[in-house]
Point group: C2
Chain length 521, copies 2
Amino acid sequence: MNAALATLCIKRVGIDTWRESVAFLHRDCPVVRAAGFQALAKVTVRANGQTIAAVLNVVDDACIVDPLELGLSEEAFDRLGVAGGHPAHIEHAEPPPSIATLHRKIAGERLSRDDLMAVIADIAAARYSKIELAAFVVATNQYELDRDEVLHLTEAMIAVGQRIDWRHDVGAGPIVDKHCIGGIPGNRSSMLVVPIVTAHGMLCPKTSSRAITSPAGTADTMEVLAQVELPLQRLQQIVRETRGCLAWGGSADLSPADDILISVERPLAIDSPGQMVASILSKKIAAGSTHLVLDIPVGPTAKVRSMPDAQRLKRLFEYVAQRLGLHLDAVITDGRQPIGRGIGPVLEAVDVMQVLGNHPDAPHDLRQKALHLAGRMIEFDPDVRGGDGWRIARDILDSGRALAQMNLIIDAQGRRNAVLEPAPLIFELRAAADGMVVGIDNLRLARIARLAGAPQVKDAGVWLAHALGDRVQAGDLLYRLHARYDADLEFARRMALADGGYRIGRAEDLPHGFTGNGAGT
Amino acid sequence: MNAALATLCIKRVGIDTWRESVAFLHRDCPVVRAAGFQALAKVTVRANGQTIAAVLNVVDDACIVDPLELGLSEEAFDRLGVAGGHPAHIEHAEPPPSIATLHRKIAGERLSRDDLMAVIADIAAARYSKIELAAFVVATNQYELDRDEVLHLTEAMIAVGQRIDWRHDVGAGPIVDKHCIGGIPGNRSSMLVVPIVTAHGMLCPKTSSRAITSPAGTADTMEVLAQVELPLQRLQQIVRETRGCLAWGGSADLSPADDILISVERPLAIDSPGQMVASILSKKIAAGSTHLVLDIPVGPTAKVRSMPDAQRLKRLFEYVAQRLGLHLDAVITDGRQPIGRGIGPVLEAVDVMQVLGNHPDAPHDLRQKALHLAGRMIEFDPDVRGGDGWRIARDILDSGRALAQMNLIIDAQGRRNAVLEPAPLIFELRAAADGMVVGIDNLRLARIARLAGAPQVKDAGVWLAHALGDRVQAGDLLYRLHARYDADLEFARRMALADGGYRIGRAEDLPHGFTGNGAGT
């Protein structure tokens, strides 16, 4: 009757449980009956010398697992790395060692470096359930982490991941990077900054994310023009050849604990300063950057809503970066409205290529922002005088050298011969009254562009006809929705009609008080 | 190409997702591809005029669902209440209306009555995902709810559930009840209190829970002797006949939001004062009680660790009860050690029947505690003088009237002819040194009893040979483990040998400072 130690047979169950390892046992499995397992119990699965933690789902359908099978979700199966049909054992999991530490944080205690190392190690090893992850995210959001806790959280996230070292590829000299904390639709300055600074001769191996809650990430937009899913070795080769890249960072396993935490931060829409700093800096340091320009947009519908908040966040970034030996130049920019005209991968790629080509219609705000940030990065070059960066960047862009460099990078990554044509189904939102555009809601426009299909549908999104401060007359076009499917257009149209995200008013209603040093001002 | 509005075919997927509604769509389902659904997205399912919220799992195995099927977990299928094969539509869910309120609580704001009504209504309608529930539980745990928030939370929980009204069955007079906040193994005083107070002529329709994290709930132990899963109508009939019952409260749907919150509080092991008060009082009021004796055990390994904490909790219970018109007598008792000798359903039933039978070996502490609590309940009787309750309770017990009354209730619910014999596999833990028992860890013993198989294995558990203050010699029996399966005995034995939960020391090491008015002192 050694039921709880009975041997079960591994079966891969084709369910994508998104970062949570799930074990499926039949209700009549002798282990379930004898050892009193309940649904959602945490279990340890052992097979062929491998061990993983998983959450138990009880199954009543023998087609999914029969009573002598141990089903594993795709995530769990991949983590265990043992073939289907192999014998396995299951037992009650001891709680992860750091759960007591989690409870101390929930109770409001400050955590030490060792505490955070233990928590992050357990998270990276997938020993936390979704609800334990949510508890950690909320607890570290509520009792705001102090700056040493943020430092230790960042260190812990770096410690559990891979780390790229460019030094033996390229010798000394800065490894530069640029990052935006996000939240501004259409903000594709990375795709301009990388060709400019690499044309200047700097090394800039830029890895980007895909969209999580936005209508496009840099990786999504770059993918319109070139391959972005590149194995690490290929990526290093491209950087050696062209000094830069614009690749997706997802396969590099740079900060695996962060990737897991994001799986609950995203649906909870929680992005606290401490988590943001640890997430961004751990990935940059793991990617081998030595110098980083950080873009912090401020505005009423940006992630950071006020200048004091932006200053506080900037100081937190600076403190952690300095302790970890990363040179950081944090720039507070205008985040009151989207950047450029397009929102969505193809529409943003059009903006980028117009700026690179010095096209007369190229969006001025995107050009200015890119020159501003590229200039700051160029000033990381010890041979450049402070204040000369912007001019150098402008010369590179105006001379066509940035475009030539972009074409080099695109060819190195693998050019895609995309037609940069927005999706054919259209809805146009028009001004209901005469007046001035006094408010544009970043969040609303991002949501409308997503409903239209972006980023999955590459050529879907929004094309903006007007920016803050523009005078419009009733009936003038405010923006155009582009979609590929009727249903998507209908969802997006309904949302745009309910609240289009544009506010028309009088000049004195324009949001003021923004005094950032960004290009938009 | 109206893909997102395409009709899918409902299929019940036999997976028990424990209070979370899950929808399973194949990765090649046209809706998934066109509308950009991601794993864990929240969706709205519509079929035959019914609507439910669900979380999406993406499936790669057509045996589970094919690309034109919409799979529903058992929970989701039951909630929707539409037959398999029926056509259904799926779309992106709007976030539940109260999510903005949840974020305000996460940010530390105080919530109003309307706020809490909205949150609890969404929770009861299963519109919150597991991680949103976890966020609510952690947020209300951290920024401790003020007493009006607890009042409103309790009211909201009552408002979304069923409510039993005994008045037309029994006329006026108190409807008495007794509840313990939990955490003390073996504490089965309800099974003594109900026969005593109903023998006195009071109405006491006691509904109890099954064990959640403990080795036995009152419902588990009563189930050794009688049926406890009774439909509401049958339960009311029994109460009319015998004045009392000892039934499982789970099928009555008295506080559905609480049942859902418990599904995350349990694995997180979070039980904050506000949540505890709202959970207990909402269920008591929904069950129709007018007078409640509440047992708050205090001890180093009890839920409440110090007398000031107990007093604070008592005042919070009193405030909310008073506002809701419930007469409450909260009693702080000795929670330094388990009550009685048995831990586990059969072992506890033995204790109970010994006390009812006035057996010479009956555990004195259990008898004293039951008399103490029953006495307080009897004093709710307007014809009983303050201070007389204990004597009346003792007379009822000593005269055998309590035993007779228990037999009436058992017969009315449906007697089970159980042999009250503990499980045959045994491990004995013995004292390692001479000395006095100066500490018994409630949590450790509960955990060991659970590993031995309790409560699923009814006759498994722990039998305690010694209590606090007993002198023992090296080699004396401390407790005996009972198990039915080798593996269970082995798990429990290993844990008992690692740390048995008993501390042997000198008389001066006994925990002191406890000055409660419980029967144990």
